[in-house]
């Protein structure tokens, strides 16, 4: 069976036609699943129950026989299918009666999967710019003089009376040598890649969460909608 076509709508080949390797890659951002229809629920009635799900802003859908094609754009946050950008829903006969099979595509999942790569790239750019912007010996000396000056500043008498700790005294030379490595890192504090690494990690975790949560929520939504 070849794909259905409707003007302006993305369609997909039937599952059997997709090569296995592509299918495996598609699992990153495609959501496939099936929900058995409640007993005695006719196809027309099933689609009628699903209809309100496609009534949200930015959603276009068209029914062609036992298949519904959906596309979405600028989905509102509270749209229950907000992660979906396009997809098909078919009602097919199954072993235990008619079944709703859906194949949905989510760019949000794809972008979330790619986001760690973006932040890793930003981290490398940060490191590269940091090497170009290494402070000159004069700048390092100026910074040190500033730190020494800070150590000399005395607390206001009110703060002294209230018991606030006094500013740190400047470190001695020996300690300075010990902390040299640490100091090297601090000198280039505007070019630390750590934040970008943290966000790469956050998005990796968010992707795993979304890949597990969203298909589960969509399946539950279809199940509840079909059972009325």
């Amino acid at each position: 069976m070849t794909s259905l076509s409707a003007s302006g709508m993305e369609t997909f080949p039937a599952p059997a036609e997709t090569p296995a390797i592509l299918r495996l890659m598609q699992r990153i951002w495609h959501i496939r699943g099936e929900v058995p229809l409640p007993a005695d629920l006719a196809t027309d009635e099933a689609f009628a129950r699903l209809d309100p799900l496609f009534a949200h802003a930015g959603t276009v859908h068209a029914r062609m026989g036992d298949v519904v094609l959906v596309t979405k754009r600028d989905q509102l946050a509270q749209d229950p299918l907000s992660v979906v950008d396009s997809g098909t829903l078919r009602i097919e006969p199954g072993e235990q009666g008619p079944t709703l099979r859906y194949h949905l595509v989510s760019r949000a999942l794809l972008y979330c999967f790619l986001a760690p790569l973006l932040f890793l790239a930003i981290s490398q750019l940060t490191v590269f710019l940091g090497t170009l912007d290494k402070p000159t010996p004069e700048e390092i000396a100026k910074e040190k003089a500033k730190k020494d000056k800070q150590g000399e500043i005395k607390l206001n008498p009110i703060d002294k009376f209230l018991g606030a700790p006094a500013p740190e005294k400047p470190k001695d030379e020996k300690k300075d040598a010990k902390d040299k490595k640490k100091g090297d890192d601090e000198e280039n504090e505007g070019f630390s890649p750590i934040t970008a690494y943290v966000f790469a990690g956050i998005f990796a975790a968010l992707y795993v969460l979304g890949r597990l949560l969203e298909p589960w929520l969509i399946r539950r939504l279809f199940q509840r909608t079909l059972t009325g």
Partner: protein
């Protein structure tokens, strides 16, 4: 819609808004819940001040501040589930991922750019050019005065920058996309075009020489006041808090779909600045956004100021001159 008269202006003619503290819903639930959501904000503020004032030098560090900041944001995110202000603002996975993307871009790319052309870089260049030192006397003031004064001066700058953004088209373009958010959540403050995030971060705070502890105190105070601007949690903030500080209520009105309401509550932390300049409206709104609540994609948010700016530039040649023969509508403020 008839709208509500507030001073010289009529608000709520395009979209429903609630005006007056007495009309805003209260926290519902048992005594503990009501007490918690009344005193949580002041308790955090005074707790933070005490911590940063007395913490030993070994603890009072920037890394500790970052740790507390992240922990606080996670806690506020949990509070959104415990006591949401509106169900229609509930956070979803996609919304969280989108918000965190903007937070990430702000914390990495915008920070990177600020190394070269941010306010600190500009001030440093000014100092080396004109050979004037920072305001060294500032470090002799009591710590809390240093912190509060620097925050107030920074917020005063932000107030005028923000008000300018709502009144001058070239500044409105980068800010406008932030007004397309359709709900408030804890990370929504970062949603917008990076150009706007850069502009709003400009300030003259760098002119002053701080004691490191005063700087950390200022950061803690701004976190304890500013974290609630974009948040989906219902608080019964004490009356003095609502008088002094910007609240979710104030800021939801600023994000309302009603145009006249968006021209109020510009300050970042101290709503008293709005009171001083007559732009404060006490109230709240649930329906937020622009163009009837259209949600803007990340791609559009990134491009919109430039595409719209280009369109406006091209139209300059064919537009009728302002104050020509035909009367033109001038936005009233």
């Amino acid at each position: 819609m008839d709208g509500i008269r507030v001073g010289k202006r009529i608000v709520g003619t395009q979209s429903p808004v609630t005006i007056g503290w007495e009309n805003i819903p209260k926290v519902e639930g048992g005594t503990f819940k009501r007490l918690f959501f009344t005193w949580f904000q002041p308790a955090v503020l005074f707790g933070m001040i005490a911590f940063w004032y007395y913490a030993p030098n070994s603890i009072a560090k920037f890394s500790t501040a970052i740790g507390i900041g992240i922990g606080f944001r996670i806690f506020l995110q949990i509070l959104e589930f415990v006591n949401p202000r509106h169900k229609s603002w509930q956070i979803t996975w996609k919304e969280l991922a989108t918000d965190l993307f903007y937070v990430g871009i702000s914390a990495t790319c915008v920070q990177l750019v600020e190394n070269y052309i941010g306010s600190d870089a500009i001030i440093e260049a000014l100092q080396s050019t004109f050979d004037f030192d920072k305001f060294a006397w500032f470090t002799g003031l009591p710590l809390l005065v240093q912190a509060l004064l620097s925050l107030f001066i920074f917020d005063l700058g932000q107030y005028w920058m923000h008000r300018g953004m709502h009144n001058w088209y070239p500044l409105w373009l980068p800010h406008s996309v932030h007004h397309y958010i359709t709900q408030l959540n804890v990370h929504k403050g970062a949603v917008g075009n990076p150009l706007e995030l850069f502009l709003i971060g400009l300030g003259i705070g760098g002119l002053f020489d701080f004691l490191p502890r005063a700087f950390l105190l200022a950061g803690a105070i701004s976190m304890s006041i500013g974290a609630y601007q974009h948040i989906n949690v219902r608080f019964d903030s004490p009356r003095w808090w609502r008088f002094l500080f910007n609240t979710t209520e104030h800021h939801s009105l600023h994000h309302s779909q009603d145009f006249e309401s968006t021209r109020s509550n510009y300050s970042n932390w101290f709503i008293v600045i709005d009171r001083m300049f007559g732009t404060c409206i006490d109230g709240e709104a649930e329906l937020l956004g622009m163009e009837g609540g259209r949600r803007m994609s990340i791609r559009e948010q990134m491009l919109y100021p430039f595409t719209e700016g280009w369109k406006a530039w091209k139209e300059r040649g064919v537009r009728e001159p302002m104050f020509g023969d035909h009367p033109t509508a001038v936005p009233a403020e």
